[in-house]
């Protein structure tokens, strides 16, 4: 436990020492939101103000962008000399990865706060009460945690930090074919099956419903189930990969 805290401190310090990367991962989601709202938004009919429609999607993009940093830093640790030092000091993989995942959560939260802040400035007006905010926060945290562990697993899977970055770049595309940016019924029919059933969609629907006070159906539970499944699978995969990489 104390090892984990030490490793969390380390990962947070390393995050703060790469201000350029940090700034990019904070500003990119905001830039994308502005792009969607002011350039594409006018052409997209969603039945609400587009900024209100698109905020949940941008929040998930934040998590995907944050993921690439996590995968790269995990991969850097595994390919550099420091992993041997940690292991010879009997620091477990759990503590090392916990450090990375916690730093990833911290980066994601900072980006989320920034996105909400800018969204409010440009007209985002959710109607959620305190309970809905709490529930939305819970869903968002569950998604970030799942994505962070998935990225850590990808960092262990990749043979180099560059490859890890490439993997997660692909992951950043997954939110697009969902209801994050445009209603699914505007997409070609062959894409509906994927877009309606992929994990990002219930997360988006849950966030949007909770924030805008519209009916959410079972989407929050579906979202939590997806996040839980991804989390469990990623932690198991990360544990297995760590043991395999270090055997």
């Amino acid at each position: 436990m104390s090892d984990s805290l030490t490793m969390v401190g380390r990962s947070l310090r390393l995050t703060m020492r790469t201000p350029d990367a940090l700034l990019t991962s904070l500003l990119l989601p905001v830039m994308l939101m502005l792009l969607f709202v002011y350039l594409f938004g006018g052409a997209i009919q969603t039945g609400t103000r587009y900024v209100t429609y698109v905020v949940p999607g941008v929040l998930l993009l934040c998590a995907s962008f944050g993921a690439s940093t996590t995968a790269v830093t995990v991969s850097q640790d595994m390919t550099g000399g420091i992993i041997d030092r940690f292991r010879s000091m009997d620091v477990g993989g759990a503590a090392i990865l916990a450090g990375h995942v916690t730093a990833s959560m911290a980066r994601n939260l900072a980006a989320t706060v920034l996105v909400f802040g800018v969204a409010f400035l440009i007209g985002f007006r959710p109607s959620a009460g305190p309970l809905e905010w709490l529930a939305a926060g819970g869903v968002l945290l569950a998604f970030m945690l799942a994505i962070s562990w998935l990225s850590a697993a990808i960092g262990l899977l990749a043979r180099s930090p560059e490859a890890a970055g490439g993997f997660t770049f692909l992951m950043a595309f997954v939110p697009y074919p969902s209801s994050a940016f445009v209603p699914i019924d505007t997409m070609p029919t062959w894409l509906h099956g994927f877009a309606e059933n992929q994990p990002v969609t219930p997360v988006i629907e849950a966030l949007r419903g909770l924030l805008l006070g519209t009916p959410v159906g079972n989407s929050p539970w579906l979202a939590l189930a997806w996040c839980g499944a991804i989390l469990v699978a990623s932690v198991a995969l990360a544990g297995w990969l760590f043991r395999r990489r270090t055997a």
């Binding site: 104390s2 090892d3 030490t6 401190g9 380390r10 310090r13 390393l14 020492r17 790469t18 550099g80 000399g81 420091i82 041997d84 030092r85 940690f86 292991r87 010879s88 000091m89 009997d90 620091v91 270090t246 055997a247």
Partner: protein, 323 residues
Amino acid sequence: MTGELAVEATGLEKSYGSVRVLDGIDLRVERGSVFALLGPNGAGKTTTVRILATLIPPDAGQARVAGFDVVRDRRRVRRAISLTGQYAAVDELQTGAENLRMMARLAGLPGRRARQRARELLERFDLTDAGDRQVATWSGGMRRRLDLAASLVGEPAVIFLDEPTTGLDPRGRQAIWQVVGDLAESGVTIFLTTQYLEEADRLADRIAVIDGGRVVADGTATQLKQRVADQRLDLVLADAAAFADVAGLLGGRAVRRDPARLTIGVPTDGSAAQVRALLDEIDPDRRAVRTFAVHTATLDDVFLALTGRSAGQPEKEKETADV
């Protein structure tokens, strides 16, 4: 386990795929001594260290470090050792002090003691002035010293140093030698690997020469050098005919033959008497030898003497395979 041995390995084997990296390594290192594993690239030095430091299990054989089995008692071995690898195992983006504090916390020291230990180690390794700068701005030699300092935070009983001076300039190398010498005096056991005979000679009480995954010789530096002779007399011959004559005369005694430069190397102790006697023997008419030079024996010479081939060169069949 006798209690006197810090490292005891028998029959260590390790293969990666079809490549046999270790082919039955036996080692015994006395507690409190400095032991050097000397060998060329690819001889199996790093694999041996990684097995002894519990990072990888051997395919066969046993090893005990600080009295504990490296496979069954992995955790207890880890608490008794430290490992410094070939690549500086420190965070470039943290300062020197932060790196040492982190390592001290991981070694189990509480916050205040960790800070104090970090300060002590920076002081001891002459890094205090740079301590609050990010390691990214440090020189290679400073990083290596920090790496060594980091390996000492937990006050280990056995310290593994994998090629501690490879890639350093002469000044950086001197500084590391100084540190290792000081450490040895403090009574810990040091197990180091090196490609440099001179380094093993300077630092180690005992040396094992490793090649192709086997220990081909071991003993004190003096014993090894008696087998190899610690100096080499290089003779530059007058012409190709003289080269052929002298090469024929010396036969297996020549440790170096370079027909292109008409040069032949013979082991010697470097004394004037022996050099004079050798020259008289080789060149009684004083015509064949044009110039000569006496060199300190290199790892190459040791290798040539022990294995019949040069250290930098892989075995013959591998050589053709590589081409």
